[in-house]
Amino acid sequence: MNFSMTENQKIVMEVASEFAAKELAPKAEHIDKTGEFDAELIRKMTESNLMGLLIPEPLGGAGMDKLCYVQAVEELARVCPSAGLVLMAQSMFSFAVLAFGSDMLKREVLPALSQGAVGAMAVTEPNASSNMMAIQTKGTPFNGGFKITGNKIFCTNSGIADYFTVLFKSSDQPGPASLTLGVVRKGTPGFILGKREKTMGLRGDDLREMIFDGCYIPAENILGQIGNGMEITHIAGAIGFLGVSSTAVGAAQACFDLSKKYAKERISFGPIANQQIIQLYISEMANLVEISRLVIQKAAVGLDNGEKNPANIWKARLFCIESARRVADLTSRIYSSYGFTEEYPVSRFVRDIAGLPYIYSTQEILGTYVGKTELGLPLMG
């Protein structure tokens, strides 16, 4: 087992790290205060080839693997967790189109994503989140495709995206076969963006209500086959889980670094770094961050090697999120009252970590999936 980085992986890490330090860091606080993840940042992420990371080179992308992807997300998230999510949603969307899109769709969308267009995957509805079967956005057959009506919420990148995948009910068949995934372009008649969500953290993630009223999805924009929607969403969701987990690792690393710095500066009965309890907190954080990183890298390598069983990715996501929550808690204890103010940057990382457990699945639902898998029980029913 070789834990050394390849040249490609080193290059991706260098580019992501330099971008985070020079472009993101000066704007991170402003992004948190205003929610503005401006077009200039997207342009520069595109120029650095981060936004086309998983897209093959012939289609304009960087052609990198999932291990490079998780490293890049982590580097961005160390400075601005919202940026990690922007890259995650872009990569998940591009993966879905690459794996399941028609040739015509791939030729249009993937080069566009490599050159500045942004993608998003819309699944969640007001009454359907972990339970995809409760989705109410309905598609009516029309001219070889579908006209869809319904609404979506909590879709990362929705406020800035040019292309969206939308999961909808394509028939009244029972079970997953009723769900289909299609691609909608921004500006398509019958598709409007609604209000933006105000959130406690991850404020650079522009979450909008999406309203569909007879919005047409042509046949060539259907991903995979009609009725494959849930399966494709789960497969692409692996990229999403890797991204959320890496964002958690990056945010946890930031908390850890800031905590070490503060522990050496803060004087209370002498430098608090000299107190054993603080040393134990730091030790626990060091372990959690390191192990989280290893477990997510293992999951990414497994996906690169063609592993079909998603259990490693679920387990990685469970561990990384819980670890980040614990690191955030320990950080708050080390910073005490100052961690509750906006005087130090640590409070925004703590708030951002609080929002991560709910993206694409709850920890509880995922936990039951892992438990059922281990026990040989069916996931559904």
Binding site: E7, V15, E47
Partner: protein, 261 residues
């Protein structure tokens, strides 16, 4: 358009050590970076290439390790890079440097524009750009802050002055030196770094560029560094403790005695 961007390796630190035997900066063991002003030169060269098509060649003179630094120019869009490296080039002052660079550029071949950074962070002379132009027998313009128009034979640009700027028209080929106002250097992209990783940096010695060794290095340097030191500033302080009017009168007298009033 064919553009040559000249870069120099400088110490990546403000804590500079001096070799007392040669009175030059100790570069071994010190992390090296591209001279910050030269980053703007490379960026502007790449931007011109992107608008007009053509080629950007990054050129440097230095020790062999500079080849790795030159790869950074490929990573941000230069098409190729050349390093002039030879023991004979060591200890060059700005005249010998500009002679060597001129010989290197002659070997590169046809060019339309040469871009240099305003000055180097270690030498600070700002002489190489103009001197290079003289060696090549072409016009030059320093302190360029904006290129307004460019074609194969003609350049219209803004030049920074003490009072603001002036608009200057220049015939090409020419040398320009650029200031930081001209652009914001891009960060290397993933594809750029991949290109750089595989790039072969041409390394030419004195013989390759047909340079007269008597005109290179210490041999070709009419200026010699006699002494390099960090100046000590000593200040004496006198505090005038009285009311404001009286203090002003006393201070005025002191300044008059010093010939400053």
């Amino acid at each position: 358009m064919n553009i040559v961007a000249c870069i120099k390796q400088v110490p990546g630190t403000t804590e500079v050590k001096i070799d007392n035997s040669t009175n030059t900066i100790v570069r071994e063991g010190v992390a090296a970076i591209i001279n910050p002003f030269d980053l703007y030169a490379v960026e502007e060269a790449v931007r011109i290439k992107e608008k007009t098509e053509g080629k950007v060649t990054a050129l440097s003179m230095g020790i062999l390790s500079v080849a790795e630094l030159l790869k950074d120019t490929i990573a941000v869009g230069a098409d190729e890079a050349v390093l002039l490296s030879d023991r004979a080039f060591a200890g060059s002052d700005t005249l010998a440097t500009s002679y060597t660079l001129a010989m290197g550029i002659r070997k590169i071949g046809e060019f339309d524009l040469i871009i240099c950074g305003k000055q180097s962070a270690d030498g600070d002379t700002a002489q190489v750009g103009p001197s290079l132009a003289e060696k090549l027998g072409i016009p030059h313009l320093t302190m360029v802050k904006k290129i307004i128009e460019i074609s194969k034979k003609h350049l219209l640009c803004e030049r920074l002055t003490d009072d603001g700027f002036e608009v200057v028209e220049l015939q090409l080929p020419a040398v320009i030196t650029v200031v930081k106002d001209i652009n914001t250097p891009r960060l290397p992209s993933i594809k750029g770094k991949m290109r750089a990783k595989n790039a072969e940096i041409k390394i030419w010695n004195a013989e390759d560029i047909c340079a007269d060794k008597e005109l290179c290095g210490l041999n070709g340097s009419p200026t010699q560094v006699i002494s390099t030191f960090i100046p000590n500033f000593e200040a004496s302080t006198e505090i005038i403790e009285t009311n404001a009017n009286e203090a002003a009168r006393i201070l005025s007298g002191i300044l008059t005695d010093m010939g400053l009033n």
